[in-house]
Symmetry: C2
Subunit: 230 residues, 2 copies
DNA sequence: AAATATATTGTAAAAAGTACAATAATAGTT
DNA sequence: AACTATTATTGTACTTTTTACAATATATTT
């Protein structure tokens, strides 16, 4: 009972993107409203079957662009989910990616079969089709791990940000609280965010200094054997 | 120019396993000698196309068992590689796994189209077919990351081990050196390896105490919010 | 008994992490 | 102009962790 080679070439592969967005009100996830079967008229992760003649990474970017309008944003592969019956139309393996973006900069423009795209607070996610809730939980736990060891949190913030915004972002993602003084002491000691000399304006209180992420300084840290750990 | 649904169900999926084994002479990788096309008569990672009616995790275990004889060993998913032309027979996405085992306990029994299975020192890996060298490099870097934060190193050691063996294992995997006194102080402080009261015998020097990993104690550490970091 | 080989152990100094609250700077109000 | 409301900014003492470093112990072999 040997399989013929052709028996193996009968699977489909999809990509599912977990897009994390941040704004003052907290961390959010981007979902699309499905305008096509299966699971039409349900909110789901922006994901789709991919073509056999496009590289995996390119496919992930293309799927995201088509369904949400987002492009050129930070993406990283997570894991592949491959239970036999996870898709009603046949054997579909799905490769999950996570992406990070500052919500203000995210111009949503859903097309293809995505009727809508909207941000959902991380703790108000509805039941999702397929195994999307499982994928989402995995993505959340991975984001927590990775954001502590790589300078990817800056993808969630505007180019210029205050130390308070930076701290709020880390606190939202990690679901924890930091002491203001200790947080600043540590982050400034690491020396890969630099004071731009600019300040907030039009705020009804003492304006905060604006900082920016300095990738070169971070590289130097790494070259010197330092390991980031927030 | 819309794709028909059937156009998507034309991919194959494979699993490639990076099996790390440890013994006194250092860290090794398990390769098989391919007795089938493509790349017949070359050493490669133990991997194979998988059937569309078996779950992904089960497939990974089955592929490893068939090609090498190994079963019930520690496995964890890494990443999926999906360049268009990575496989000469068509579009094949491969999901990589890494596995850990103590070489002494590994009874190799290659079957199916694997003509041989053998351990290769981690720094003497030949050129491999497909993108297997790339997969291997990714696996090595992931092993280094994961072994520092999870108690998976014990999978590479016998049930009873000496502190020197434990240190050698970590040093081999992490390609670094630890101070003997500081290493012991730290590992004993963590308190999840316990002295069995037994000792080495038949060694031409002071015999070392034998320890074992204590999973319950480790669980307690975690529950108390401790984060392992070697 | 001596030689050989590896196992075992402690301490002081440096670095990093933690807990904690008063002062500063702006816009808006009186 | 003085005052209020609001958030930004900053330092120090204490605790914990990490680091650097070498002499003694216990088994086998000669």
């Amino acid at each position: 009972m040997k399989n013929a080679l052709s028996d193996y070439f009968k699977a489909a592969v999809s990509v599912d993107n977990v897009v994390f967005g941040f704004e003052k009100t907290g961390l959010k996830i981007l979902l699309i409203y499905r305008g096509a079967e299966p699971f039409r008229d349900q909110w789901a992760l922006p994901g789709d079957l991919i073509s056999v003649d496009i590289d995996l990474v390119s496919s992930a970017e293309k799927v995201l662009q088509k369904l949400t309008g987002l492009e050129k944003i930070y993406m990283e592969q997570l894991q592949t989910f491959g239970k036999v019956n996870r898709h009603p139309y046949g054997r579909v393996f799905t490769v999950s990616y996570f992406a990070l973006i500052k919500i203000e900069d995210a111009h949503l423009n859903p097309s293809s079969w995505a009727e809508e795209a909207a941000w959902f607070p991380i703790n108000e996610i509805p039941n999702l089709p397929f195994d999307h809730n499982e994928i989402l939980e995995f993505a959340k736990s991975q984001l927590k791990l990775r954001i502590r060891r790589q300078p990817i949190g800056f993808e969630l913030l505007p180019k210029l940000f205050t130390l308070t915004e930076l701290q709020n972002m880390y606190e939202s993602v990690l679901e924890t609280q930091f002491d203001v003084r200790n947080f600043r002491k540590k982050i400034l000691f690491l020396d890969f965010i630099t004071d731009t000399g600019k300040k907030e304006n039009c705020v009804a209180h003492r304006p905060a200094k604006l900082f920016k992420y300095n990738a070169k300084r971070y590289q130097k840290l790494i070259e010197n054997g330092y390991e980031l750990a927030l």
